[in-house]
Structure formats: C-alpha cells, structure tokens
C-alpha cells in the first residue's frame, strides 16, 4: 500500500517536476500532496486518466483559511474506485490572487462544490460554467463568510441584513416555469 503511494508520488514528480511542492501522510494513511495552483488542472487530469491510478471520483472540493497563513488553501479529495485509494491534493493560493482553474469539466461533482468554495471563500474558479453563490442569498453583499477576517455577525448591521433578506426575489432561486409548477402565484 505505502510503496504504491510512494511510487505514485515519484511518478508525479517525474511528470510535473517542481509543480509538486510536497507530500505528507496525515491521520494514519491519508496521503496529502501539495501542488502548485497553476498546474492543478494538468495534475488532476493526469491522476484521473493515468492507468493504474484512476482517481475517477471527486469526493469533495473545499478550502481552508488558516488565518495565521495568508491566503486560502483549496483542497481536492479524490477516491479511486478501482484501487480503493484516497488522495488529497492541496493548492495554496496567495491572498492577492485567489484564482484557480476549475475542474468542473473533469468531474461533474465539482460544479456545485466549487460554487460553494466561491461563495464562502471567494476563490475564483476560472472556466467554471456557472460561478455564482449557492448557499448565501443571491443579493448577499457582505463578502465571503468563512474567511478568517469575516466578522462573526456579518459586516452590516442587523437592520440592514433584515431589510436585504426580505428584498430577496423568488425568481433568484426558481425559474418562472418552476414557480408555475408550485401553483398559482399570488401576484394580485
């Protein structure tokens, strides 16, 4: 098991060279590989398509703002169905350019997960088909709540937040066709 992982890291270093910035084992057997954010798409494509590795399932895309370290770290959690192997890829983004290429074309599951990371951390996923907020209201304008510099109670006062909340439009979340399906709208 461990030897297979070591050889995989070596193979990654052979192919991508200095784009692999480090690797470690966490929590017993969780292999973590740190990579350069500019090479994320090539590395993840390689991991998905290379025979013998076959990381064909993207379990999670998330991000961490450690606070003490500037910037945001984007985390990809992969699972190889054939090899029954977990792999975690981490890309540290500097705080002045929170940009990374989207992997939504590679795995469909990345679509909403990247939207969530964008919503809560403000990471821009370049090439994402539909990058907009997914958890916070559409008219939310206080920033990205899971960043460490975000005040717990938000940036606006409570009266402003209440006012904005009640200004939400249902059509922000449902198309008119979907609203039709819910029954007669009471616009009168």
């Amino acid at each position: 098991m461990t030897e297979g992982k070591v050889s995989m890291i070596e193979a990654m270093v052979d192919v991508f060279g200095s784009a692999i910035t480090g690797s470690e084992i966490q929590c017993g057997d969780q292999q973590v590989v740190h990579v350069e954010p500019s090479n994320n798409l090539e590395i993840l494509t390689w991991l998905k398509d290379t025979e013998g590795y076959d990381y064909d399932l993207l379990l999670d895309v998330t991000a961490v703002d450690y606070g003490s370290i500037p910037g945001v770290e984007v985390v990809y959690q992969l699972w190889s169905i054939t090899n029954k192997q977990l792999l975690r890829i981490k890309c540290a983004l500097p705080e002045d350019s929170l940009k990374i290429r989207s992997v939504a074309d590679l795995w469909g599951s990345a679509n909403w997960l990247e939207r969530e990371v964008y919503d809560l951390f403000g990471v821009q996923f370049e090439g994402h088909p539909d990058l907009r907020r997914i958890l916070m209201p559409k008219n939310y304008s206080e920033g990205h709540p899971l960043r460490k510099d975000f005040p717990l109670r938000g940036r606006f006062s409570r009266e402003k937040q209440t006012e904005l909340a009640l200004k939400q439009d249902y059509e922000d979340y449902y198309s008119p066709e979907q609203l039709e399906g819910f029954g007669q709208r009471s616009d009168d």
Binding site: D149, R153, S157, L164
Partner: protein
C-alpha cells in the same frame, strides 16, 4: 333560556313553537368557535419541529384543544407556529407564509432560536422572528417540551377570549403595502439587536474583533 331537557327528546322543527334557542353575545360565540378550532400552520425548520410533531401525536394530542390537524396550507390556517431557527435566506418565505394566512390569525414563536436567534448569533440568522412577522406568544425552551407548546396555544386561546368584534382598534390591522416588509421598522430592529452587538459592535461581549484583519482581501465587498 329554553334548552329542552334531552331526556324528553324531540328534535326542534322550524316553525314549531317548541324550537329551542339560546341568547348570547356575538363576541362570545365567535370567540368560542375561533378558539376551539385553531388550525396550526407548522413552520418547522429545526429540532423544535420534532417537539411540535410530538405535541400533535397521541401522547400529547393537540386535537384535544381544537387543533384538529396541522394545516399545511396557509390559506386555511389560523395560527402560525414557527418552530426552529430561521436564516435570513428563509425570512421572505416566512413572511410570505404569514401574508398568505387569512385574518384572524395569530403567531407562536416556538423555542429560543425563533424568539431571539438563540445561540446562533451569527451572520446568517434572523435574530428573532418578531422582526419579520408579529408574534403573539413566545414559548421559551431549547426546544420547549410539548407541554410548553400546548401552554402557548392555550395562551392564544385566552387571548382570543378577550377579543371583541366591535373593538377594531384591538384587531391587528394589516396594510397591503406592508406585505413582504419587515414588521419592525429598522430603528426597532436596531434597538432589539443592538445590545447584543452587531457588525460594528462586534467585541461588545467577545473579543472576536481581534481575529479580523480588515483589508486583508481586496475583493471583500462587491
């Protein structure tokens, strides 16, 4: 008061001089009917809703008090039971449900979160639904026991008892323009929530302001 003895049963027939009747006040009859057939509109968003369901189930049996069934249509409901925390994203839904209910209507805020935001004093939570809809009875607890909810409903019944159809001032007037608007105006919300701190008074009860490094990210507000 010509109530016939049931022992000498003879059904009253219209036109018959034996027709039974009783005299009373309109207010009494109307309030009696209203308070004994309250249909709750459940707006359950969290664990309080579990206790609300328990209240409706056989052990506690809300139907004993006239809450014969939960009315899942706001058009047919009389009392809105908001059970659980309400995030800002859900606030217009709660307001719209309330707007769709017909007068006369009442509202119960069940549990700490619905009444005050509870422990969720965060960026995403409504700090008390009384800023969104007018509330008649607050049931404290986290969550309240079914007895608590039943007591709250009986307080609504007591309130209905004292209402009068002639006393228009005491009826809750609703302005059509007010639909979808906060029930408390902004200064009221400020007075209600200000003491607990908000974005500008973040460190009133905590030292959380120290974690903030303003201006760390350039795209914070857009």
């Amino acid at each position: 008061m010509g109530i016939k003895d049931r022992q000498n049963e003879q059904l009253p027939v219209a036109g018959n001089s034996d027709l039974t009747f009783l005299t009373t006040k309109v207010d009494f009859v109307v309030n009696w009917a209203r308070r004994n057939s309250l249909w709750p509109m459940p707006f359950g968003t969290a664990c309080c809703a579990i206790e609300m369901m328990a209240s409706a189930a056989s052990n506690f049996d809300l139907a004993r008090f006239g809450m014969e069934r939960m009315s899942f249509s706001p058009r047919q409901a009389d009392v809105l039971i908001c059970a659980g925390r309400v995030p800002y994203k859900l606030a217009p839904v709660l307001r719209r449900t309330w707007d769709q209910m017909m007068q006369p209507k009442w509202c119960i805020s069940m549990g700490a979160c619905a009444s005050s935001g509870g422990v969720f004093d965060t960026y995403s939570m409504v700090q008390g639904i009384d800023t969104i809809v007018p509330v008649d009875v607050y049931v404290p607890g986290c969550p309240p026991r079914p007895e608590g909810l039943i007591y709250g409903l009986m307080m609504i019944q007591e309130k209905i008892k004292s209402e009068s159809m002639a006393d228009h001032e005491r009826l809750r007037r609703e302005d059509p323009e007010g639909a979808g608007r906060p029930v408390a105006d902004s200064s009221e919300v400020k007075a209600l929530t200000g003491v607990f701190g908000n974005s500008t008074q973040q460190d009133k009860f905590s030292s959380l302001a120290q974690t903030a490094r303003p201006g760390r990210f350039k795209d914070v507000l857009k």
